[in-house]
């Protein structure tokens, strides 16, 4: 009995959801639609990714047989930039996209890139150009967004791997906020709810920190790492009054990942392997079902 199951790469879902979020923002949250900027982010990332793939494989990669999966990563990174990074200068868009793509090739240790590409692009552009910014308030704190990001994010993350990074980060961060805001400072609970239901935090948890390629390989290391990011980000936001701290701390903490990998050995995450694994799981599931039904 041969069973062939077609499983979709989780990255397709990620892209689709990012596009939904972008259109939601433009249509319902009154974001100014910066079509030129969006095309620059996406265009630059794809062209540079293609260039890098061509150089590395030492032959011209045909866009129609571009199988390495590089374009998916480039597209996801550039969609993140569309969602998060604000600027009034088109050259900043090109710079941010270029930094995202190049960071994958420049900062590499043991066959893994060190930084989350879009987080690196965002942080470097904000810090070094002074002409770009993040708008943590752009999502508001509406329940609908909370619900949507959680649902959609949940699907993406569970299809890739366990929810471990996301939950470790989110629970630690929310837990610390709860202790500080409600238990210590005695703010009413809705004060706390507004802090945790903000779209920026949820998007970060489900779509950025969850990136399996830039997290430690070992499961325990991943959880420690995510909790560490949450704790440091919480400290800077609660006591130093800084904004958008999770994304900055994610980049700051990225160099710890190779260290974790060195101390705690485990397999490197591969997108293709993940797809195969989930295919295998489905096959097994179907087989079992058939056996059960006789």
């Amino acid at each position: 009995m041969a069973v062939a199951v077609k499983q979709w790469d989780a990255r397709y879902f990620q892209m689709a959801f990012q596009v939904i979020f972008l259109f939601y923002g433009i249509m319902f949250l009154q974001w100014k639609a910066e079509w030129l900027q969006y095309s620059l982010y996406i265009g630059t990332a794809l062209v540079l990714q293609w260039l890098c793939d061509t150089i590395i494989s030492k032959k011209i990669v045909s866009p129609f047989h571009w199988s390495s999966g590089g374009w998916k990563s480039a597209l996801i990174s550039s969609l993140s930039l569309c969602l998060l990074l604000k600027t009034n200068d088109w050259s900043i868009c090109i710079l941010a996209s270029a930094l995202s793509v190049f960071s994958k090739y420049i900062f590499r240790i043991n066959g893994k890139h060190v930084f989350n590409p879009s987080a690196f692009g965002i942080v470097a552009t904000v810090l070094f150009t002074g002409n770009a910014w993040l708008s943590p308030g752009q999502w508001g704190s509406s329940v609908v967004i909370f619900f949507a990001v959680c649902c959609l994010g949940f699907i993406v993350v569970t299809r890739v791997q366990k929810l471990d990074i996301t939950l470790a980060f989110l629970l630690t961060f929310a837990g610390l906020l709860f202790v500080r805001q409600v238990m210590y400072l005695n703010w009413p609970v809705d004060f706390f709810l507004q802090s945790v239901s903000t779209g920026s935090l949820l998007l970060f948890s489900f779509f950025m920190i969850s990136d399996p390629r830039t997290a430690p390989n070992h499961a325990v290391a991943r959880i420690i790492w995510a909790m560490l990011i949450a704790a440091v980000a919480f400290y800077f936001s609660a006591f130093k009054w800084m904004n958008s701290t999770p994304i900055f701390i994610l980049v700051l903490m990225a160099p710890l990942v190779p260290l974790f990998d060195l101390l705690m050995k485990a397999k490197i995450f591969q997108w293709r392997a993940a797809v195969k694994e989930s295919q295998q799981a489905t096959i097994n599931f179907i087989k079992r079902k058939r056996i059960y039904h006789g």
Partner: protein
């Protein structure tokens, strides 16, 4: 015994409604959408330094005035200043939403012209009785009087407290009337290590100085906290309160980091008759947009580069843009003393002298605003103004064929203007307050609009909830579809 009421200013107009004595001037008499509880604040910020100026148009007996403002540090006497009252009026006039007029030619070249103005809606802070500031019960209440000053017509006490019950008791013992629910907010502030800036009027000083109106108070401090403590003002607020923030920064617009920023709809063509009632139009527009955006938002009404090097400080200008003295008065310290010459004469590209102005309008209530307003400065230098356009029809003989075409187009245009009006304000022609002359108490719409209004269907009232529900279901639907496609796969045997 008379009791003091603490009104927390800085937005913190706590104030029991019967004592609240606001007499701001605004246009609409009849509609309940205009809020007279509007406070105005000037925020100047660079690095960790903040200067806050709080308007004070308290109109009752000055003896009744008191306010409490949470501040991050103990202020020195030199950090507190009284500024001229008309500063707020000037900033408001400069930055308020504007109506511009165009004239159609008989059917030829168009010409541009002028501005009409929404009357500023401004607001108050109130009320309390008696002046007595001695504090004998520090130990008992665990409240420490950090400093006491008299600045201008004000007596100021800066308190720090260890616990809210102590502060509450101290304030009560000192005959301040604390509204119910205030202590739920006092405790978080105390634990966040905030101090309390308590102000009342020194009657003798006030008489000596001879100012009839209470002047705005300005405070400055260094702190990473870039926020406005609106929560204290909501302690007993039953309704919505408005706040206008005028911000001056070096690099670009400020925006809230914990609430959504929304640009006011701008550049819209609206019916001619709005001219007679622009204040009411804007009040309706604001209320409608605020509800549409689910309330928890801050609106940008104006943003402009007012740097010395920028010659065009508004377009069109409704009133004089803030000049060097206004900026200094508002607390823009980085201009220095010597730049006046440069400011008025020369093209000055010195970046350290840049000033960017943002006007935010927030309508808040306890339910939609659980947190204080926290801000950040962005490098966004894009200018913005809330601007609405009316077009006067051509006059004279229009019997020629172009004239006839023009009349047809005019009718189409007016239909669009009408539907834009209902889209912006959520109200149609039938809503009398937009089409009535508030003074003459009669309809002011010319008949051409009336005939359109009859044929046009009444506008549908869209709410933000409908949209969100729609989108949420869209999103879920797409997810389910994708999941099912993914799951189904291709099974071959």
């Amino acid at each position: 015994m008379k009791r003091k009421i603490i009104s927390a200013a800085l937005l913190l107009v706590f104030v029991s409604s019967d004592v609240f004595a606001f007499c701001g001037f605004y246009v609409s008499k009849a509609d309940g959408t205009l809020k007279n509880k509007t406070s105005q604040v000037i925020l100047v910020r660079d690095g960790e330094r903040t200067v806050i100026t709080m308007s004070n148009d308290f109109k009752g007996d000055v003896q009744d005035f008191a306010m409490v403002v949470p501040v991050p540090t103990v202020l020195k006497k030199s950090d507190i200043k009284v500024v001229e009252a008309d500063l707020f009026q000037r900033l408001n006039d400069y930055s308020k939403p504007r109506l511009v007029e165009y004239y159609d030619d008989n059917p030829c070249e168009p010409r541009v012209l002028y501005e009409n103005v929404l009357s500023g809606r401004v607001a108050g802070v109130s009320a309390q009785k008696e002046s007595k500031s001695k504090n004998e019960d520090q130990e008992r209440f665990k409240v420490k009087v950090e400093a006491e000053y008299t600045v201008g017509e004000y007596d100021i006490v800066i308190l720090s407290a260890e616990e809210s019950t102590g502060l509450y008791k101290w304030l009560t013992a000192n005959k301040y009337k604390i509204p119910k629910g205030a202590d739920e907010v006092l405790e978080p502030y105390i634990k966040s290590n905030m101090k309390f800036f308590v102000v009342k009027v020194n009657i003798e000083e006030q008489e000596e100085l001879g100012f009839e109106q209470l002047r705005p108070l300005q405070i400055r401090f260094n702190s990473p906290k870039f926020m406005l403590p609106i929560r204290l003002g909501m302690a007993n607020a039953d309704g919505d309160q408005d706040m206008i923030v005028y911000a001056f920064t070096k690099n670009g617009r400020i925006e809230s980091t914990n609430y959504r920023s929304v640009l006011m709809p701008t550049g819209k063509n609206i019916p001619l008759f709005v001219q007679k009632n622009f204040g009411s139009f804007y009040a309706n527009l604001f209320q409608h947009q605020w509800e549409k955006e689910n309330q928890s938002v801050s609106f940008v009404e104006y943003a402009w580069d007012v740097s010395p090097s920028n010659f065009m400080k508004c377009d069109p200008c409704v009133s004089e843009p803030p000049n060097f003295n206004d900026l200094k008065e508002a607390g823009v310290w980085w201009l220095g003393k010597d730049v006046y010459e440069e400011y008025v004469n020369e093209y000055n590209t010195n970046k350290t002298k840049n000033v960017f102005f943002t006007r935010l309008h927030v309508r808040y209530n306890r339910k939609a605003f659980a947190q204080d307003l926290v801000f950040q400065e962005t490098p966004n230098k894009e200018n913005f103004q809330a601007r609405y356009i009316i077009t006067h029809p051509a006059t004279g003989n229009l019997t020629c064929s172009e004239g006839q075409n023009y009349l047809k187009e005019l009718k189409e245009r007016r239909k669009k203007e009408m539907s834009m009006l209902s889209q912006l304000t959520g109200k149609g022609y039938d809503d009398w307050d937009l089409v009535m002359d508030p003074e003459l108490n009669r309809t002011i719409v010319d008949t051409s609009y009336q005939s359109i209004a009859v044929t046009e269907s009444t506008p549908m009232k869209k709410t933000g909830t409908g949209k969100t529900v729609f989108l949420a279901s869209m999103a879920l639907l797409s997810v389910l579809t994708m999941v099912s496609i993914g799951r189904r796969g291709k099974n071959k045997e």
